[in-house]
Symmetry: C2
Subunit: 282 residues, 2 copies
């Protein structure tokens, strides 16, 4: 599956009238799984690129920013995160970041489409190494039902690394699911969900925050960070739960962390919580 | 100059193998000035778009982030900014932000190409209103020569709102120009320059910082912020000068500011100074 020189992969964002393209040197993989079309391209400057149903999921160059920001802020917000659930995130990137925390004793990944994980193991082995960790377990089933059936207080952290709020994934942005998460987390537990672009999807972010409030979460904060290959190049994650305001995270533990990160650090954690004026106003 | 439905303006970033596109509904203007090709498009979701020599300069939707971050952090770093020089910035967006500070008594804009300003007055009137302020003066000449001839200590703030380091603009990224700025600023003066993308142009940022050091600036900091329509969607500005480390900016004045901003606030100022781990390491 060679593409001719000068070819591009382009994702159009209809709701913003914008498009982002990466120059591709080869199409490495194509599959129609039970749930979606899975494609992998080799790009000229961003390493391998994973695309689901035509939407960029990740590339080898900048996925570290997303995976670190979806994981470490939540874990350093909880006083002693031991049991972590990742919903979606079949590429195992978040799972790998979670398992860098030594105090985690169990990390479960619940991904609907096993093929995403198997394809990621082949084309993004650097993200999937951690799934061999004895603390990790992978379950290929529906995340909404999984959380609904979970014991109260079963988890300290739930990370929702979902696709856009379309089709199956739409339920992951609504109060009934957040209420299940609230129950599965207990009072100290922390939820984090990817919440799209501050510039393009401000109304969706507002809706997510409002649905989290309806589900009984007292503290809700939106973090923001760059993510080159997603629409607008600017992305967010919304944090809910915990006993304390999110600015009171374990700053000194984050400063003393014994593992490496490429984007995240305690200053970046605090800075990601700062709200631009237009977000405060909404 | 109608474009047909479904047309796009696309900027390719060769050094990153990426491209960004905006859907355009009309081409509003085209001119070959003495220095460059100036184009203006009407876009579907980003308002008017200004393009110089094929590179996106600004659009009506997100330029506020860039102009605020190129202006307010520098002004709140200086104890009492009265005299401000903007090099480039012919669209007058930075000038408008600078003039929001009441303590500024004179703001000079030195832009090489008068046509950029005249075209901006026509298609971005919201950015140019401030150029009628009696404290503002516009000079259409070479910024490098202007700073070289300035009296020592003539300015409190110099803002370099330049195009990419290609052709005429390359001199704005080098030590001889920064040494002229250092002299024109005196010991308390603060320089800020746009310094491209942290993800794509990390070596350039390193070079700018190093050239500033050679020019005698003791304090150098790189701020970062989203900028959707520039390559990678993530941009930076590098701050130099002042008597104190840049984290000691006038935080309480920034919190008590009497003018409106849409992105900037004191928390955002502090957060923009936080360095991602990979930037610290470089």
């Amino acid at each position: 599956m060679r593409v001719k020189d000068g070819d591009w992969f382009t994702e159009v964002c209809d709701e913003a009238g914008s498009a982002f393209s990466l120059r591709v040197t080869k199409k490495l993989y194509n599959e129609r799984s039970r749930y979606q079309t899975i494609e992998v391209y080799e790009t000229s400057h961003f390493g391998n690129l994973l695309v689901l149903d035509g939407f960029v999921m990740l590339n080898a160059r900048d996925n570290f920013i997303y995976h670190e920001m979806m994981s470490h802020p939540a874990l350093y917000t909880h006083p002693h995160p031991k049991r972590v659930l990742v919903i979606g995130g079949g590429d195992c990137g978040c799972l790998g970041e979670v398992l860098k925390h030594r105090e985690v004793i169990a990390a479960e990944l619940v991904e609907l489409d096993e093929r995403v994980t198997r394809v990621s193991e082949q084309f993004f082995p650097e993200l999937c190494a951690a799934s061999n960790d004895p603390r990790a377990s992978l379950h290929f089933t529906d995340g909404v039902a999984w959380v609904a059936r979970a014991e109260p207080g079963a988890y300290d952290i739930i990370i929702v690394d979902s696709t856009d709020p379309i089709g199956q994934a739409a339920r992951l942005f609504q109060a009934p699911f957040y209420a299940s998460c609230r129950r599965a987390l207990g009072d100290e537990g922390v939820l984090i969900v990817q919440s799209e672009s501050p510039l393009i999807h401000l109304e969706l972010i507002h809706s997510i925050r409002s649905e989290m409030g309806k589900a009984g979460f007292q503290h809700v904060s939106t973090l923001h960070f760059p993510q080159c290959a997603y629409p607008s190049g600017w992305w967010s994650a919304t944090l809910a739960g915990g006993r304390f305001p999110h600015a009171e995270f374990r700053d000194s533990d984050a400063r003393a962390k014994r593992f490496t990160t490429r984007y995240y650090n305690a200053d970046i954690h605090r800075s990601a919580l700062a709200q631009p004026t237009f977000m405060q106003e909404r």
